[in-house]
């Protein structure tokens, strides 16, 4: 008995190190659905406040750029209204606007934080877009803030298709460059050429069909020789985002019931 106690006393540093290290490992690998740790991410009130103050200062410096983007978008919207005359999907999809208070793009798995939460009827698994294209999907929501899985996150898979045909594939990021994402599992016979536009497909409950993602910069057959793998240049500059729009699908529960 004494020897066991002696052993622990002699190795107390190592035991402390080992227990803290394994505790961090538990945190890392159970991060995705670890509800008890919801206070330990950037949506809690303290860190949220810090980032909000920080971004309110930075958004002043970015004001000119952002104004140009906003006016560009307004012209586009007006053009759409004049061209189409009636809005068909207005009941199915609701749109909320929001501001990014924390952005990251240099890690392997990137997340953004936005300043709308449960109070503004934001829920988990809603699509987030900017004026130029897809940004990500909301993942964790607190009262006033929510966290968004960026399109630059290796864990995010999106349904995407070619604009000129209905062939679809899976959009995923390989973690190397924040300018390009990869579209995989596109059938061999689909008519791809460089410069084609990639948009979101209608197979997802989260995004409506036809939201812009990027354009084809290069493509090749994958290892199985049956599918095409495409490098997609994003339309969005993921390093320069401020205003985003959150898309809520009112029919999502109905669609999910149908799927079961």
């Amino acid at each position: 008995m004494r020897q066991i106690i002696d052993f622990f006393v002699r190795n107390k540093n190592f035991i402390l190190f080992l227990s803290l290290f394994s505790f961090s490992l538990i945190l890392i690998f159970s991060n995705s659905r670890f509800h008890n740790s919801f206070i330990l991410n950037s949506t809690n009130s303290v860190t949220g406040k810090v980032f909000e103050t920080n971004s309110s200062i930075l958004s002043y410096l970015n004001l000119k750029n952002e104004n140009i983007l906003l006016s560009e978008e307004n012209t586009l919207l007006k053009k759409n209204i004049y061209n189409s005359g009636l809005v068909t999907d207005s009941v199915k999809y609701e749109v909320f606007n929001s501001t990014i208070i924390k952005n990251s793009y240099s890690f392997y798995n990137n997340y953004l934080t936005i300043n709308k939460g449960k109070q503004d009827s934001i829920n988990e698994d809603m699509g987030v877009v900017s004026s130029k294209g897809v940004v990500g999907i909301t993942d964790r929501v607190s009262k006033n803030y929510s966290r968004v899985i960026s399109i630059l996150n290796t864990k995010l898979n999106l349904n995407a298709k070619l604009k000129k045909s209905n062939h679809f594939g899976v959009l995923n990021w390989d973690g190397t460059s924040f300018l390009t994402v990869q579209l995989k599992d596109l059938p061999k016979q689909s008519p791809v050429s460089i410069g084609d536009t990639i948009i979101t497909g209608g197979n997802s409950f989260i995004f409506p069909q036809g939201i812009l993602i990027g354009e084809v910069s290069s493509f090749k057959l994958d290892d199985t020789q049956n599918y095409i793998e495409i490098e997609v240049d994003l339309f969005n500059d993921m390093t320069n985002l401020n205003n985003v729009y959150i898309i809520k699908n009112n029919h999502i529960e109905e669609l999910k019931e149908l799927d079961e």
């Binding site: 890392i28 809690n44 392997y108 924040f178």
Partner: protein, 167 residues
């Protein structure tokens, strides 16, 4: 008492600087220095080791909370806090064993070796756990070495900036 307050103040400042400024540098698009490890590098050598390992863990965890990387920085900084005596022994040899080193007046070359060993260890643990894929080992090593070059440079500059405060 005064020592403890000033330590807490330094740690607080480092966390704020790390999350607001240094996490957003993104040199060449992806290189960020992890400057908060100067706290572990310049922590007094005569210390209570249990407390030192624990405080490093807390600082890592706080950085994690602010950068949405739960557990990564905590694991990396607890590792270098545990390995620091070994690294001190490797880089300073006899001087460390006789407990006579002061960060104020040590040889520049030895200091660089010491800082580099600590920061490379830290970065390899950090990026290794972040990617956690053995087939991307070169990707991990490349990022770890480039980022640590950046961190080492800043840590050395930092040591000149706050020279009078070192014990």
């Amino acid at each position: 008492m005064n020592k403890i307050t000033s330590n807490i103040f330094t740690a607080f400042l480092l966390i704020v600087f790390q999350t607001i400024i240094f996490n957003n540098i993104n040199l060449f698009g992806y290189l960020n220095p992890f400057i908060y490890i100067v706290f572990i590098i310049y922590y007094p050598i005569k210390n209570d080791r249990i407390f030192f390992i624990f405080i490093s863990f807390i600082i890592g965890l706080l950085i994690d909370v602010f950068s949405d990387t739960l557990g990564l920085h905590a694991a990396a900084s607890v590792t270098i806090a545990y390995l620091r005596p070994l690294i001190l022994k490797i880089s300073f040899g006899l001087a460390y064993i006789h407990q006579v080193i002061k960060f104020k007046n040590i040889d520049f070359r030895k200091k660089v070796v010491y800082i580099s060993l600590l920061s490379i260890t830290h970065h390899i643990v950090l990026f290794g756990l972040e990617v956690f894929n053995f087939s991307k080992i070169f990707f991990v090593l490349e990022r770890a070495f480039l980022s640590s070059l950046f961190t080492i440079t800043l840590c050395i500059l930092f040591s000149y900036l706050f020279k009078t405060n070192e014990r």
